[in-house]
Symmetry: C2
Subunit: 141 residues, 2 copies
């Protein structure tokens, strides 16, 4: 299961857009996400390193480096998956090479898994954050 860091990151970026003019602290964001401010700051550190936002020590808030319509869900996904295995599917290691199945299964599955992962990522790449933000701000509920 892909961690909720992804959804929290989208939440953060949406709030940054919404409070573009002012300065929103990690504490306020944490209040909306309903978690601890440090969790938010950790995530913003990742978004910062990925070049999606710009933040600096001591000063509240952060600014979007690119407009939301130039950020896709895939960009965010990759930003927060940093340090985690970039492969979506795990393959068991060290199968027995003396067995033809053990010898060849890894490369065969790699190919198939890569296709499935690409299909998923392409779908994420089709959605920009301004679409998401619009859906959120204009949801009928």
């Amino acid at each position: 299961m892909i961690s909720s860091r992804f959804s929290v990151a989208v939440h953060i970026l949406t709030l940054l857009e919404l409070h573009k003019s002012g300065r929103i602290t990690s504490e306020l964001i944490a209040g909306s996400v309903n978690t601890n401010p440090v969790v938010i700051r950790r995530m913003m550190s990742l978004l910062n390193k990925a070049g999606l936002i710009h933040s600096s020590p001591g000063v509240a808030g952060a600014t979007l480096v690119r407009p939301l319509y130039e950020i896709t869900l895939l960009d965010v996904y990759r930003a927060v998956q940093v340090g985690v295995q970039e492969e979506l599917f795990a393959i068991h290691e060290n199968p027995n090479p003396a067995c033809i199945v053990g010898k060849n299964i890894q490369s065969t599955l790699e190919t198939n898994f890569a296709k499935a992962q690409q299909a998923m990522e392409q779908e994420l790449a089709r959605v920009t954050l301004d679409q998401v933000a619009n859906d959120i701000l204009h949801a009928q509920s």
Copy 2:
């Protein structure tokens, strides 16, 4: 990250096909996968419950209920994901409903995440196990 149970299950099913005529024990399968026989039996228990194979206590091996060309990677994926959250993407819980973002982000993300997950699953559904087995048995390596 999706657990290696998935790849192990494919490994097991391929071996069952390969040793269709005889009887292959969980110990032998474990030797090919390079793990503990209990891990294999646990997995076969899941495949059994999912109706993909038939095995019975005391008797070595298991038989495929359906031919490999009638089993897709998605079938296997679902069989071994049993009991795990069926949603691929986690969404943070209890965001603050007093904030418009907190109030609406879950449903918005659910929609987008569901599409990405479907794209991945459709790709898995396109591949049958006999294709995988053929790739494994005839790999150039």
